[in-house]
């Protein structure tokens, strides 16, 4: 990855699901029997994100990932931690410098790139404690008049994660109130509200989020029992 503010993209994908969708060990992948020149149809493509579109969701996830993992290694490998953080902040500069490519819709919620960029901002704030990230996040949320009271929980949406971390890190009453409203809703939501095609992963993520709320924001027994269930 070329982590300069002028970089044009990153490699979003290696391989092609249409070709790679097979039930065998990767070691047995046929390419090892043929050189790329003999069997180029099996070549594993490295797909650079198109220069005109930085894929908001992907870049947001990348930034958040670099920021979060920098915290993990802070006490164990400070040099590595700083490198990860450097990547996060440089990628963020690229994203912010190209808003028309990363935020084609300014909505926040399900299936929009907005929540991944918000996810990036909250993790950058947590990793650096730099108020500018929090300011930019809160500005974005207020300008778009959204704080998630999610109507359903999907594993692809980072809205609940952003809200939970906002409440945890800032301890602002209005975020804590939003957390209670959103999580109370989840307590009463029926299974069809969940993305059933990813049910196990969904439930695991949900349990983790409820644990976060219980441990650090609101100690509510109902949340604990929901978590166990």
């Amino acid at each position: 990855m070329h982590t300069t503010a002028t970089h044009d993209g990153f490699y979003e994908r290696v391989g092609d699901t249409a070709v790679n969708d097979r039930w065998y060990r990767p070691e047995d992948w046929p390419i090892y029997q043929h050189t790329v020149s003999q069997c180029s149809c099996h070549a594993r493509l490295a797909v650079l994100s198109p220069s005109f579109f930085l894929i908001g969701e992907a870049i947001g996830e990348l930034i958040a990932c670099f920021a979060a993992t920098s915290i993990v290694f802070r006490s164990y490998d400070n040099e590595y931690s700083l490198e990860l953080l450097k990547h996060a902040e440089e990628l963020y500069k690229v994203a912010v410098a190209n808003p028309f490519r990363t935020l084609d819709r300014k909505d926040f919620g399900l299936d929009s790139p907005g929540d991944e960029i918000a996810w990036a901002r909250i993790w950058l704030f947590r990793a650096t404690n730099k108020s500018k990230y929090l300011f930019e996040l809160e500005t974005f949320l207020s300008e778009n008049k959204v704080l998630p009271r999610q109507s359903s929980f999907r594993i692809g949406s980072r809205g609940f994660g952003v809200l939970t971390l906002l409440a945890k890190l800032t301890k602002h009453k209005r975020y804590i109130k939003q957390v209670k409203q959103s999580y109370d809703f989840l307590l009463t939501a029926r299974i069809p509200q969940f993305d059933v095609s990813y049910c196990t992963q969904c439930v695991a993520n949900l349990a983790f989020l409820f644990l976060q709320v219980i441990n650090t924001i609101l100690i509510i027994k109902l949340y604990f029992y929901f978590c166990l269930r």
Binding site: A18, C65, T69, V72
Partner: protein, 186 residues
């Protein structure tokens, strides 16, 4: 070989797959796979032939221990409560089994070896490493790797003491590092 390259036909308990094109994985030859089954689970398969030669089904149903030599991991304690240390251990092994690239000497999955060592070569860069999307998709998507790694990292940040108590801190660090070394490349 794509799905359209295989012709499928069935009658009663007989299932036949015939290649329409020469299969690169089979020395560039055509093939016919035929099996009989009286149900829908693998154990309902009665017999199978590949290019009219019998297939040894025992290899599929009861793989020799040399293929899957690991002992089952018991995640329940005597009182049927979850042993979360064992759950963490098994979860991290799951990630290790999905690794792409050149595996380290500390690899704990004995049925996995190095794979996809040419990733990125066609573009002149090193994109070896990372994790495959899942068990039947050998693609590597950046946003998927970043997504689950963030979730794991969040868990480590909040519950590092639990990982230490479960003796899994080093392993989870390795799991995260495997992602990040790759994401730095992309």
């Amino acid at each position: 070989m794509l799905f359209d390259d295989v012709e499928f036909s069935t009658s009663t308990d007989r299932f036949v797959f015939k290649s329409r094109k020469r299969a690169s994985w089979y020395n560039g030859s055509m093939f016919t796979l035929e099996f009989r089954a009286d149900g829908i689970t693998p154990y309902n398969v009665i017999n199978a032939t590949f290019n009219n030669e019998d297939v040894n089904l025992t290899m599929i149903f009861d793989p020799p221990s040399s293929v899957f030599s690991g002992e089952p991991i018991n995640i329940l304690e005597n009182d049927n409560q979850y042993n979360y240390s064992a759950v963490l251990y098994a979860s991290l092994l799951f990630y290790e089994s999905q690794r792409a690239g050149k595996l380290p000497s500390t690899n704990r999955i004995d049925w996995r070896n190095d794979s996809m060592l040419n990733d990125g070569k066609s573009r002149g860069i090193d994109l070896v490493g990372g994790y495959f999307n899942d068990g039947d998709d050998l693609t590597k998507n950046t946003h998927i790797i970043a997504g689950f790694t963030t979730t794991i990292a969040w868990g480590v940040i909040e519950y590092e003491d639990a990982y230490i108590k479960a003796n899994q801190l080093k392993d989870v660090h390795d799991a995260i590092r495997w992602s990040m070394d790759y994401l730095i490349k992309v």
